[in-house]
């Protein structure tokens, strides 16, 4: 009997640099995707509530398309379609291809989270904004969106936490993060329980505190009504 498969954590010390690097790669991908998807999601939600039917239709089309397509397909498309076929992989490395694919996907969910936030803003707010003569863009920017952001902290947080876990799929775009590193260690040292647990804990270190932060923030920022 060889209990190493259940107890031996030495593959981690052996590959410590690579493991840390993959951990950092996951964080890097999450951060950039978070920023870009928040920006794109805000733009999309502005389109979805705008007075111009064409913009609304485009927003709806975008959200329906990207929310219903598997992330694996989007990232494969980013890698093979945009990267190889269009030859953009000479300009963009796997990191940026993964970032763009992930952001395109996550933005659709950010948009929906923000829209649910906009729905919680009382009607009177928008009416008052119009009554004092603000234009649509002004009322959205100064009145509606700030309140919507504050009340959609919780759904936005769960979207972003899910996005962190989704970064594992970036391995199909050839980006080496924690899932790719775990796969490689599985191949070199065998798929042992300690390797799996180590990476699982690595993710929990990222997701659980984020969850706590989100619920603290959402309580703190909640708009008292």
């Amino acid at each position: 009997m060889n209990w190493d498969v259940l107890l031996d954590f030495s593959p981690f010390s052996k590959n410590w640099d690579a493991v840390l690097q993959s951990f950092w790669a996951t964080i890097k991908l999450s951060l950039m995707t978070g920023i870009l998807s928040l920006a794109l999601g805000t733009l999309l939600v502005s389109m979805r509530v705008s007075p111009t039917p064409v913009l609304r239709a485009f927003g709806t089309f975008y959200v329906n398309t990207f929310r219903n397509t598997p992330l694996t397909l989007i990232l494969l498309f980013a890698s093979f379609g945009v990267g190889d076929t269009l030859g953009l992989n000479k300009v963009l490395n796997t990191y940026w291809l993964a970032v763009f694919g992930m952001s395109a996907y996550t933005a659709a969910f950010v948009c929906e989270a923000l829209r649910s936030g906009i729905n919680t803003v009382p009607l009177g707010q928008a009416e008052a904004a119009r009554a004092i003569g603000l234009t649509f863009t002004q009322s959205l920017r100064m009145i509606i969106l700030p309140q919507a952001f504050r009340s959609s902290v919780a759904p936005l947080g769960s979207v972003l936490i899910a996005m962190m876990k989704n970064t594992t799929v970036a391995l199909v775009a050839g980006y080496v993060e924690m899932a790719a590193q775990m796969k490689q260690m599985f191949e070199e040292d065998g798929a042992t329980l300690p390797i799996f647990l180590g990476f699982a804990v690595g993710f929990m270190v990222l997701t659980l505190p984020s969850g706590l932060l989100v619920s603290w923030l959402s309580k703190r920022l909640a708009v008292a009504r």
Partner: protein, 320 residues
């Protein structure tokens, strides 16, 4: 007075319509607003067309829109040899995983609300663990782990097929999310419901089975269906461990034969979108039905009300 009746309903409906309209953030456009709208529309259309042109042009330059690359999709063999078997693989895995995940969710959701600490704590630990880690890591481990471990312990290595790994991962992950959905559904019911049931002399099991669970399921049905959409979409992860599903057939095997990656990706994406939109419609319909019926005392929760950070993330009903 019969003549006023239609008028008053008309007024009511006009008022409700106005209210629905007013939830958008602008007034009914006047002449100037209409003029401005037309200009914005024109600019937006131009920008979208320009973007579309650039993208299509670049793919066209690479010959991705040549007729011969699309031709496979009008051939029967493409559908019977690739897409339909792939779709079958996806649906088979998703259906089995959905059933197992629901059972898993009920078991651990109820376990987490147990009065006994030694049931509650392990159930909570299981649910929180599987919710916190990425589904892909889980699938990798289920696929390769048991064989290694059995070997190490000197036992005969079990054969874990790709199908088992995908279904197992989907079950554990989505089951944990569903457990939280069930729990929040039951906790959203007013306390009076269980108090009244206890007052009638029902036991704990009776209170759960006859009073709480039926109402909670009604309340949470849209959320449950949304999670099943997530599950269906996540079955595409099977591609990574080479399980024979839609993505594998349509985006690996098919372009491998015809070299039509972009057309294939578009067709496969449309199939996924249609499946998920259909499921989303179902969720919207069920939500509307449960809102109209007065059978449940529970608050109506939007499908994305519980925070269910999913692989595919939680979603509203309108579209996955």
């Amino acid at each position: 007075m019969t003549t006023t009746a239609p008028e008053s309903t008309a007024r009511v409906s006009r008022r409700t319509r106005r209210k629905a309209d007013a939830s958008v953030l602008f007034d009914a456009p006047g002449p100037r607003a209409r003029f401005r709208n037309n200009i914005v529309t024109g600019i937006a259309v131009l920008v979208f067309l320009a973007l579309l042109y650039v993208v299509l042009r670049r793919f066209d330059d690479k010959g991705q829109f040549e007729g011969k690359l699309w031709k496979p999709f009008v051939k029967v063999e493409t559908w019977t040899d690739y897409i339909i078997p792939g779709l079958g693989g996806t649906l088979k895995a998703a259906a089995l995983a959905a059933v197992l995940a629901l059972l898993f969710g009920v078991f651990f959701g109820l376990g987490r609300m147990s009065d006994h600490v030694w049931v509650r704590v392990p159930c909570a630990a299981v649910v929180e663990f599987f919710r916190a880690i990425p589904l892909l890591l889980l699938i990798f481990f289920i696929f390769q782990g048991p064989a290694t471990i059995a070997n190490g312990l000197g036992r005969e290595a079990p054969h874990i097929s790709e199908f088992t790994a995908v279904v197992g991962g989907l079950m554990l992950y989505n089951g944990s999310v569903l457990a939280e959905i069930f729990r929040s559904g039951i906790q959203s019911l007013p306390r009076g419901q269980s108090e009244a049931a206890y007052a009638l002399g029902l036991r704990k099991s009776g209170v759960m089975r006859l009073i709480l669970v039926p109402q909670a399921v009604t309340v949470m049905l849209p959320a449950i269906i949304s999670q099943l959409v997530v599950l269906l979409k996540d079955s595409a992860l099977g591609y990574i461990i080479a399980y024979d599903e839609l993505l594998n057939e349509g985006l690996r095997a098919l372009p491998g034969k015809y070299g039509n990656l972009i057309p294939a990706a578009i067709v496969i994406a449309v199939i996924y979108i249609l499946m998920n939109l259909a499921l989303g419609r179902l969720a919207t319909y069920l939500e509307g039905r449960s809102r109209r019926s007065k059978k449940s005392a529970g608050a109506r929760l939007a499908p994305d009300a519980p925070s269910t950070p999913g692989m595919g993330m939680d979603q509203g009903p309108a579209a996955n």
